[in-house]
């Protein structure tokens, strides 16, 4: 990450915001122009940006970030159940809860670095996952998952003989006299959070999250984090107490994950423990490395790519392939379908795996490094062209 002038950062931010807002139009040709998927892009974009603040800047690889995602989801659903279906209290509460949770876990795990830190975070996340299924069932509703339910009958609410897992209170909504029919939908002051309004709510938060990450990366604080990544030992002898810096970065990163988890609950007010599983933690690592760890845009790019593969590539079946290869004679068609069938549909993981290997081997800086190389080649070409031109002119 280079120093970057203020103007360049502002341009980057404006372009990013423009692209996100125009995403429904831009991504339609790729078959991804529908709000449910776009919302996922935005949510996992936030998750990856937050992860990158820890991993990209300090070099500390957390393998348990999904725990904060899960905590954020549970916290949000509880707000939906207890206070209001309005998303504002849910989002704020989730970020705070995830922050506190990250402070606790960070305080312990950051006593170690390198692989030991990664293993500790993994252990904590798996512990949270298993606790959510067992001891914490009163809070998490175990395997069924925590869901928004119908209101408890008012007489029982008054007597506090409630089964909060199956009956909701929504104190704020009740106080404001919101009438509910069936199970209500999340909303922002009456605007239903489904379809495009839902996407744009996530999009605005993604843009804010991205802007904050630029500020952090360019700040004095961000420079200290980069110095930790570069040579932590030297930094200690330079008079810097690295531990509070690391804990702060960990907490910020956990809050981003909490926000993402909360938005998952906004999209679909259901929180299950599988959100905390280690595969989910691994996914955000893949996203960040695929896009380019330590870059500003990379994580969002990686998140979008992986979610695109997961949703679009996995939906391609043999019929679609037969249609695609219909120009071939029948026998060839069959072979082509059989071969490419391994890479799409249920085989999308294979494609993703191959892509990931190619990128890590040839572009350790992720997709962003690839773009950088292409851009540099263009620049050099232009330069040599122009010098040749001027030489010719001189002759």
């Amino acid at each position: 990450m280079n120093q970057g002038s203020l103007t360049k950062d502002i341009i980057l931010f404006v372009i990013f915001a423009g692209l996100v807002i125009a995403a429904p139009v831009l991504l339609t040709p790729l078959g991804a122009g529908y709000p449910d998927l776009l919302q996922k892009f935005a949510i996992f974009g936030i998750f990856a940006i937050g992860f990158n603040i820890l991993f990209g800047l300090t070099g500390y690889l957390s393998f348990g970030h999904a725990a904060f995602l899960g905590v954020g989801s549970y916290a949000s659903v509880w707000m939906f159940k207890l206070l209001s279906m309005n998303v504002i209290p849910a989002v704020i509460f989730s970020v705070i809860v995830a922050g506190i949770f990250a402070l606790l876990i960070g305080f312990i795990t950051l006593r170690r670095s390198g692989i030991y830190f990664s293993i500790l975070t993994l252990a904590f996340a798996q512990m949270s996952y298993n606790l959510a299924y067992s001891v914490l069932t009163p809070i998490t509703n175990g395997e069924t998952g925590l869901q928004v339910r119908q209101l408890a009958p008012s007489d029982r609410a008054a007597d506090y003989v409630l089964n909060l897992r199956d009956e909701d209170l929504r104190i704020l909504d009740q106080a404001f006299g919101v009438v509910e029919q069936g199970i209500p939908i999340t909303n922002l002051f009456g605007i239903k959070m489904s379809g495009y309004p839902g996407f744009y709510f996530c999009a605005v938060l993604l843009i804010i999250a991205f802007g904050l990450s630029i500020l952090i990366a360019r700040s004095n604080f961000g420079m200290m984090l980069k110095a930790i990544k570069s040579n932590q030992n030297r930094l200690n002898y330079t008079g810097v107490n690295t531990r509070p810096y690391l804990i702060t970065a960990f907490v910020i990163s956990g809050m981003y994950a909490g926000l993402a988890g909360s938005l998952l609950a906004v999209t679909d007010p259901l929180a299950g423990a599988e959100r905390m599983q280690w595969t989910a933690s691994g996914e955000v690592v893949l996203m960040t490395i695929l896009g380019g760890a330590g870059t500003l845009i990379g994580p969002v790019l990686g998140a979008t790519l992986i979610k695109y593969f997961e949703n679009i590539f996995s939906a391609i079946n043999d019929n679609v392939l037969q249609g695609f290869y219909s120009f071939l004679p029948d026998s060839l068609n069959e072979i082509a379908v059989a071969v490419s069938g391994m890479f799409v549909g249920k085989g999308w993981h294979l494609t993703l795996g191959l892509l990931f290997m190619v990128i890590v081997v040839f572009l350790p800086g992720g997709l962003m490094q690839g773009f950088q190389l292409i851009a540099n080649r263009f620049k050099r070409k232009k330069k040599t062209d122009s010098t040749q031109h001027s030489k010719q002119a001189a002759e």
């Binding site: 360019r218 961000g222 110095a227 930094l235 002898y237 008079g239 509070p244």
Partner: protein, 253 residues
């Protein structure tokens, strides 16, 4: 009487029965350049590591300006005004030379921890000017935007010196500042250190190279077998029979 800045009192340190340091008493006066010399394995680096808080002595204490350093963390010792230059240059390899100098400058101004998430580093014009000035002083004006890992060893050494000097430490500890350098780089470093000397900074140098020691030191302590066997001005040391013995072995009769 001159002020004593660093006082090493009766320090002992042993590793698994091997006495690395015994009965070390050392007083470094304000403004002087104090060299610690001695053959390989004499305990020079151990002594420095005890001073900087990397190693805890088994007994005895190190007092800097009235404050006991033993048991303090490295960053606390630095914040008290003790900077260190390492034997193999320790810089931030992924950062530019300018950023390498900005980090210690920030640490000096803001203390060991400060949350400044919103303040842009590029707007720290005052610190930036200081850092640029420091690099220019050390003849690195052309390398400000160079990534440290791409620098030659000599330049890394100079960069590390800039990182220490920007903090204006009261005491600078140098661990073999010319190790592995070519002769003309060594001379350049000597000139540089002489220049710093005019600023009145107290320095402790550990060095193998006698040429460096005799051109810089005001006083010299000679370490052999974990003990200080001689202390004095360069001239006194040159003619001390014990020192000759430690370096050249016992005289054959």
């Amino acid at each position: 009487m001159e002020n004593i800045v660093l006082h090493v009192n009766d320090v002992h340190k042993s590793f698994a029965g091997l006495h690395a340091l015994s009965d070390i008493d050392l007083a470094v006066r304000e403004g002087e350049t104090h060299a610690i010399i001695g053959p390989n394995g004499a305990g020079k680096s151990t002594l420095l590591n005890v001073c900087i808080g990397r190693l805890k002595p088994d007994s005895g204490s190190v007092v800097f300006d009235g404050v006991t350093l033993t048991g303090k963390k490295p960053y606390e010792i630095n914040q008290l005004g003790v900077a260190r230059v390492f034997q193999t240059p320790e810089v931030f390899p992924d950062l530019t030379a300018l950023d390498n100098v900005m980090v210690p400058a920030l640490a000096k101004r803001d203390g060991s921890f400060k949350m400044s998430v919103i303040k842009r580093l590029s707007r720290e014009k005052g610190l930036r000017a200081q850092a640029e000035h420091m690099l220019e002083d050390l003849g690195m004006a052309d390398q400000m935007q160079q990534i440290a890992s791409e620098m030659s060893r000599g330049n890394k050494r100079r960069l590390e010196l800039a990182m220490s000097l920007i903090q204006k430490p009261r005491l600078l500890l140098l661990d073999e500042p010319t190790a592995g350098m070519a002769r003309h780089d060594t001379n350049a470093t000597i000139d540089l250190l002489k220049k710093i000397k005019e600023g009145g900074m107290t320095k402790v140098i550990i060095e193998h190279d006698m040429h460096v020691v005799f051109s810089l030191a005001d006083r010299i302590s000679v370490l052999a077998g974990g003990r200080i066997i001689a202390q004095g001005t360069p001239d006194e040391i040159k003619n001390n029979p014990k020192v000759k013995e430690a370096y050249l072995g016992e005289e054959q009769v």
